[in-house]
């Protein structure tokens, strides 16, 4: 692990643990922070597909739903009650893994189709997940899944948000990640350069859906109640807003986008139903004034790994601790 990441990671985790354990922050503020964290996981993972890979997925809420329901089934129905609080981390990982498997299946259409057609596939996927859940009586159908315990706390959300940011960033700055970018730029040239285009698409979809599933699991155990309607097209649209608000092809953008969107939504709560009108209007304005989003394809320096080229160009810096 790079030095640049390890220390902040541990200290932030420690602080969030102290906040959780001693209630150092108002519980409403904690709740908003948890929404922010969950939304960061969602927007960073969606940016992998919509920004870095250059596709347009509108089915991310479907992945989130799969993660939410998988984890709820585990903690409520499968785990013994006494152990459930301790096994919660396993439920979150399992939710991610199950979602990742579904995500890998959804990568298959992306081998053959691109652009609008793939967008339709993801749209259909989101609708299928929702209607399957609405018709499964054993999962509460449209009424929803009740009796979920509140296992999600600020520490877990912070941990997973950092894991998502760290891993997606590790992926982007790797051969696989550069492969994803090359597919976005020119798929024919990518394959001629030896990029296994199916492999990179599969990897990107799997990673993206894994974290959407994790976010779903955290969300379920925060709200303590889930129903299919929570994961409809509106939810996917919300994620798209965060990604495009922050800027596509930028992890930093997704973090900023998720923060601003979530906090604004809370601040505008007194407006009631009108905030749902105001938000899209703000997005339209932003797209007109700053079409590439707040970060617009640029990245925070601290997110860029130090194995890279110095600003002078010719010299190579390699600060990361390498074994030899």
């Amino acid at each position: 692990m790079s030095k640049g990441f390890f220390l902040p990671l541990v200290s932030v985790l420690l602080v969030s643990h102290l906040i959780t354990a001693y209630g150092l922050l108002d519980s409403y503020v904690q709740l908003v922070l948890m929404y922010v964290g969950i939304n960061i996981i969602l927007s960073v993972s969606l940016n992998l597909i919509n920004g870095y890979m250059g596709e347009f997925s509108v089915g991310h809420a479907g992945f989130m739903a799969i993660g939410a329901y998988t984890s709820a089934i585990l903690t409520v129905r499968m785990f013994p009650d006494a152990l459930a609080p301790w096994l919660f981390p396993i439920a979150v990982v399992a939710a991610g893994v199950v979602t990742a498997i579904v995500g890998a299946l959804l990568a298959i259409p992306s081998f053959k189709t691109r652009g609008d057609y793939l967008a339709i596939v993801t749209l259909a996927f989101g609708m299928i997940v929702k209607s399957v859940l609405e018709n499964m009586d054993s999962l509460g159908a449209a009424r929803g899944f009740l009796g979920i315990s509140k296992y999600t706390n600020l520490t877990w959300v912070v941990f997973w948000a950092m894991a998502a940011v760290w891993m997606v960033r590790n992926f982007i700055y790797s051969s696989f990640g550069r492969g994803v970018l090359s597919v976005r730029e020119d798929e024919i040239a990518a394959s001629a350069a030896g990029v296994n285009t199916r492999q990179v698409k599969l990897f990107a979809f799997t990673l993206s859906s894994f974290f959407a599933g994790v976010a779903g699991a955290l969300y379920a155990h925060l709200l303590m109640f889930i129903n299919p309607k929570m994961f409809d097209l509106t939810k996917s649209t919300e994620m798209l807003i965060m990604v495009y608000l922050g800027g596509i092809g930028s992890i930093g953008g997704s973090i900023v986008g998720a923060m601003i969107y979530t906090v604004l939504l809370e601040l505008l709560r007194p407006l009631g139903i009108w905030r749902m009108v105001l938000m899209p209007i703000m997005l339209v304005l932003l797209m007109i004034l700053r079409p590439r989003g707040i970060m617009g394809l640029s990245e925070f320096r601290w997110l860029i790994p130090s194995v890279g080229v110095s600003s002078k160009g010719a010299k190579i810096v390699q600060d990361d601790a390498v074994g030899d």
Partner: protein, 253 residues
């Protein structure tokens, strides 16, 4: 023999782009392919690199059949190419353009990548070194961080050349590398082709309209016309072949 093309045919719908082509390329040869526009030269490259699947016939590299394999798999078998209309990853940096071509050589899997292990960092460092070496060789090291699309035309051609070499090819297919170059640049390309071929122990197939370059660089020339091989031999022989003069050289190209 490095490459054996046997009875290769390809048609687009009703249009026969190539008909019963047989070409044999020994190791370390520089083979030129010439022919009028639309004679099927680029199509031949697209068949060798798996961009199109041949309608019939076979292409064997060191005895292994290439027809039916995916482009990336063929690249991993050490066949690289450049494109007639330069195809760079325009918004990506010059360095990334070359690093991407190391994809097939990277050994780190998902685990090493996601957790950025020591093994991964070591490999990343190696990839940068290899890319920088090539960029320095092609005098592109000043531009490492510039988006590839921002380079002047000549440098873009050089970058595409470097990217192709980054895949560690034994067979390199160049589709009209001299297109759009002035006589001075063609002269430089001439020298470059010869030393690159030696240094990287390459076998090169060169599609080129620039006859001077072909005559000087290539040991053997194949002439295509309407998807058929109409002549083959040393540059001397081809130049004096009446059929070639008739269909190609005679037309003032």
């Amino acid at each position: 023999m490095l490459l054996v093309i046997d009875n290769l045919s390809h048609s687009f719908g009703g249009l026969a782009a190539l008909t019963n082509i047989s070409i044999v390329v020994p190791e370390h040869q520089l083979l030129g392919i010439i022919g009028p526009n639309g004679s099927g030269k680029t199509t031949l490259f697209n068949l060798i690199t798996g961009m199109y699947r041949a309608s019939s016939g076979s292409i064997r590299l060191k005895g292994q059949e290439l027809v039916g394999r995916a482009p990336a798999a063929i690249t991993r078998m050490a066949v690289a190419r450049t494109f007639q209309n330069i195809r760079l990853f325009k918004t990506l940096s010059v360095l990334d353009n070359v690093r991407i071509a190391r994809y097939g050589k990277a050994a780190c899997g998902p685990f090493d990548t996601l957790f950025r292990t020591g093994r991964f960092l070591k490999e990343e460092g190696l990839i940068i070194d290899q890319a920088m070496e090539l960029l320095t060789l092609f005098e592109l090291d000043r531009y490492v961080e510039a988006p590839a699309g921002s380079l002047p035309y000549g440098q873009q051609r050089q970058l595409e050349f470097a990217r192709a070499l980054a895949t560690d090819p034994v067979l390199l297919l160049l589709d009209e590398p001299a297109a759009g170059m002035n006589p001075y640049e063609v002269g430089k390309l001439n020298e470059q082709l010869q030393w690159v071929a030696k240094r990287f122990a390459l076998t090169i197939i060169l599609i080129e309209h620039h006859m001077g370059l072909v005559m000087e660089v290539c040991q053997r020339v194949v002439v295509l016309d309407f998807g058929v091989v109409i002549a083959e031999g040393t540059p001397e022989e081809v130049r004096n072949d009446p059929r070639v003069i008739d269909v190609y050289l005679g037309k003032g190209s």
